[in-house]
Symmetry: C2
Subunit: 613 residues, 2 copies
């Protein structure tokens, strides 16, 4: 039987696959990410899932995280807690991850290798060799890029619409503890995406959609003023270790190509980019010099590298730009401002809009998922829910159907900064206009006036957004509006967004979502301190905060904490109540007590406890 954290019956897979007991390999996650985790005991394991379809037979190694629990003397030992796992297998960074999906892709016989015509594998296109920290010539596992064979469409959407369950769908379903049928049907309907470029075979399949666990994205990437390649790769591992479901590489500085190569070859999660950033670097950062041809070549280069989804700012139409004229903060999306600038400089319609069909043809050749960018998203509450924002959304809805016609997968990006009471309407509007295409919001921030705390201002909005159906939440770190996130900021952002996603999963009554909360609450009541730490989203921080007051080891066995002290603990008192009276005695106590009260009540005329008026 498969390990099932939710105690529910084994999910049925429409391909009628028997599941077998995992032959698991324990891997202590003290990896290159290198945190001081003396007490963290999360383990990555895999369940082996046999899978067969028309293209072949495979044994899928589906990852999960196992958290061992402390045995209570005299009681039946607790089963380990089993959780979704994003951190990927341990591996040497300078070799890269194994190509998990290579055989699945090859066996479909609808793609072929070819010699790239765009990317010079030795050098970055723009100002190469200026960055620190990693071998710029490195290309990880050398492979020729693949693309669709002539006339083929190797996208998960196409397979789903053909009724095919792919290994990717079965894999994603197993992680979600749902049926592969559900995954296939939601993909076919466009209500979910599996962002997986055929040139990123290292990635472990995952699904993004309203019917599934809420996902989170972490943005990484150097800018012109800070960070090295090595730092970005370490941030990638760090982000996935704490639970990032996808990562966007938003680098804008030098060595963009090489930085992305290191990230892709080491990433177990889908990688997103904004190709416009690289394109702008290549024209010396003068937006007016951009062209469709240059952008197209950049996109192809990234498709060949293995980018899984791309933000495309095709909704910033020329006619929308004047709608931002009276805004308090204008256009705050980099991509949006670049395209608006280009439109006005050339007095022409956005080339991403005019060439959108060509873009679809490129992206479906590699199964790259569209993330239709909200370049006109509001940058403050005052600009929220205005004409510019919704004019763009209408365009994105139009482009969604166009992309679907090419069987491309599509997500829709959303705000930004909007008042808390308008979050629900934003989500429902997107779902309605874009026919259920997964919504992918940046927060949204519920207020503007707390820089330094925008992980919190946005987690509030994000929880509300996800509750009503936003499928993926783009994290916001404490550095938002102030600078680039460092390692600590990335972790804080990821954990904060795991909170938002999890609170929303619970609010949505997602099957099994509350199991982790119940497990930690049980540990809390039984004073299993180490289990409380290990079951928490961030065991290291929980332990460290506890140890500030009570660093001694015995405190972790104590039936109290520094909050109330040894004799003043509500949980201890509450347990004592049970211990002293037992359930039956307690009931008797009540009856006896109530009888006494009854007499008192009658003596007082029966009215003393009624309101005086």
């Amino acid at each position: 039987m498969p390990v099932n954290p939710h105690g529910a019956s084994t999910p049925s897979h429409d391909t009628d696959l028997p599941q077998q007991e995992a032959s698991t390999e324990k891997q202590n996650r003290e990896t290159a990410a290198g945190s001081a985790q003396r007490d963290r005991v999360h383990l990555r394991r895999t369940t082996q899932l046999p899978f067969t379809n028309a293209h072949g037979s495979y044994l899928l190694d589906v990852p999960f995280t196992e958290i061992p629990l402390t045995a209570v003397p005299g009681a039946t030992p607790y089963e380990p807690f089993v959780d979704y796992c994003t951190e990927g297998p341990a591996h040497p960074t300078d070799i890269g991850l194994p190509p998990l999906r290579a055989q699945w892709i090859a066996d479909r016989h609808d793609t072929q290798e070819y010699a790239s015509e765009t990317a010079d594998p030795g050098v970055d296109k723009a100002r190469s060799g200026q960055r620190r920290g990693a071998d710029r010539g490195w290309r990880g596992q050398q492979r020729h890029p693949r693309r669709a064979s002539s006339g083929a469409c190797p996208t998960q959407r196409r397979y789903a619409r053909q009724g095919i369950v792919t290994p990717e769908m079965a894999f994603a379903a197993e992680r979600e503890h749902c049926s592969a049928q559900l995954v296939r049907d939601e993909l076919a309907a466009g209500r979910a995406v599996i962002p997986l470029n055929i040139n990123h075979p290292e990635a472990e399949p995952m699904i993004i959609g309203e019917r599934f666990l809420v996902k989170i994205n972490a943005n990484l990437g150097n800018s012109q003023v800070s960070s090295s390649i090595g730092e970005e790769v370490e941030k990638l591992s760090w982000a996935t270790k704490w639970g990032a479901d996808t990562v966007m590489d938003l680098s804008t500085g030098d060595d963009i190509h090489t930085t992305r190569e290191w990230i892709l070859r080491n990433s177990p999660v889908p990688i997103g980019t904004v190709p416009l950033y690289q394109a702008l670097e290549e024209v010396g950062q003068d937006a007016s010099e951009l062209s469709w041809e240059l952008f197209r070549d950049t996109v192809v280069e990234q498709c060949e590298q293995g980018v899984d989804y791309m933000t495309i700012h095709a909704g910033v139409r020329l006619g929308h730009v004047p709608l931002t004229a009276d805004r308090l903060t204008g256009i705050v999306s980099r991509g949006g401002s670049i395209m608006a600038s280009w439109c006005l400089a050339h007095h022409e319609e956005n080339f991403l809009y005019t060439h959108f069909d060509e873009l679809c043809e490129i992206l479906h050749n590699y199964d790259v998922c569209f993330s239709l960018g909200d370049g006109l998203r509001p940058g403050c509450l005052a600009d929220a829910n205005d004409q510019a924002q919704f004019a763009e959304l209408l365009t994105l809805a139009e482009l969604t159907e166009k992309a679907w016609a090419h069987d491309c997968q599509v997500m829709i990006e959303g705000p930004g900064h909007i008042p808390f009471d308008t979050v629900k309407a934003n989500v429902e509007l997107e779902k309605s206009l874009c026919k259920g295409a997964p919504f992918y919001t940046l927060g949204p921030l519920a207020m503007d006036a707390a820089p330094g705390y925008d992980h919190i201002t946005s987690a509030i909005g994000a929880t509300e957004a996800a509750r009503y159906g936003t499928a993926m939440l783009c994290y916001v770190t404490p550095k938002e509006h102030l600078g680039l996130p460092n390692r600590d900021d990335v972790k804080t952002g990821v954990i904060t967004y795991k909170i938002a996603a999890h609170a929303a999963d619970i609010a949505k009554h997602h099957a099994g979502a509350r199991e982790r909360d119940d497990a930690i609450s049980r540990a809390r009541f039984e004073f299993r301190w180490m289990d409380q730490f290990n079951l928490s989203l961030d065991p290291d921080t929980a332990l460290a905060l506890h140890d500030e007051d009570q660093p001694a080891e015995p405190a972790k066995l104590a039936h109290f904490c520094a909050m109330c002290g040894p004799k003043f603990c509500a949980m201890a008192i509450s347990q004592n109540i049970r211990d002293r009276f037992g359930d039956r005695d307690a009931q008797q106590a009540i009856v006896t007590g109530m009888s006494a009260m009854s007499i008192l009540f009658k003596q007082s005329g029966g009215s003393v406890y009624l309101p005086a008026r």
Copy 2:
């Protein structure tokens, strides 16, 4: 004219008072709290508000915070931003605050001084003299306690119901920029409270109710295992500096009386307590030894000291205790567990419930506000919204009407841990059952599994709760479930809850609530970095995070930040768009561009942009 941050017309006061320009005293807030605030420029000022009613004429010094803004060369200088102020006037801690309200109280001639019969002013009742850090014999400004003259009822509720506008109401209204009429009417209806013990004349009047700004409370207090008196007083100043509207002193260790005395004499905000904690200390922490008489004496002692509101766990009835038997985490409220323990030990009804009328008579003598405690609140999601929780709420509703009959002011405490999607129902149920008595919730936490981040898990629930009418939010710090908050935790908790309260004020469309956000957004667009920092809820942190990447002073004048670098800033590009084209030219650009597009469109047959299916 008074300073009005919202640019609205001067609010009318029903007492028809002319308002005069403030003769203000600038006080740089580099006080005893002692933070390193080289760049923080928040200033406390006061507006003088003349006030006359049947009892006397006064010039009320109503506080506000002024934030100077940077002048943009060539433009009209911005007015300073004006905000609600909780931090109180600067003063020497060892003398205490001046008795702001002493004359107002005396002039009403419905209270009188008397020699206390309960408190021995020299010694704490239990195990005195064991703590560090402050003079245990100190009593601040020596005063006899006051209480109601025979037959009088000196509560703000009573005055309001008599149609009287008190200086306290006018003062609170001025802080809220609303009419004193509204304050009076909401008080009279029980939908708001002004928690102000006549023996805490140092406090600055403030109002808690759904129609007013959402308030936040910070819990302080030593436990048996940590902290000193001096530390608690410093935490008080620290909490009010960052925006705590009330503070609860939850001390459970030694020298409770003296600790509270130092806190009360130095507190510009209402102070709440849980008298049961002290009572339990006095019986050697054996709950079964508690009695009504001992509890009553404790309450009187605290009334005489000046405690403004008290948590009373009168809703933990004997018959409710068995309802917690099947809970995952039983009773998690300290007060709740103590009273449940007492009830079961004695097989008797809760003495707080049976003596509730006597308690009302005591509290109304001092105008101490009830905070009816939710001793049976759920301690985890699994226990949320159960019979125990709502049985207690029904009892609290009954007691609310009883307290109102005595013209006592009442708040209702609420959970705790509840799923996000059930927060709204909890608030609406409380408002309905308790006839609009202000709801005062602890968070609620929207999930259980993130110890170390419960300021965030709870701020998510708190924002939702406040949006639907919760009047005051009890903060939760990162130390929740792990230990006692230190200075940093207190600040993090307060700022996080200011975020929740503010996001809710905006969501409620509270008049003027968004002014601060608009001001900071304007500063952001104009690259007024110092204004961004100073307008933020925590200028120090915003500045510090910005300086991590760009510590040099010129960076604070720069038209970019480390996020995107100098040539890649969306705001800068967006400004350039405006600068280059101007509004009229931009319009012309669009028209020209659209004409070109129109030709292209026609050439392509007019269908190229339509979805392919």
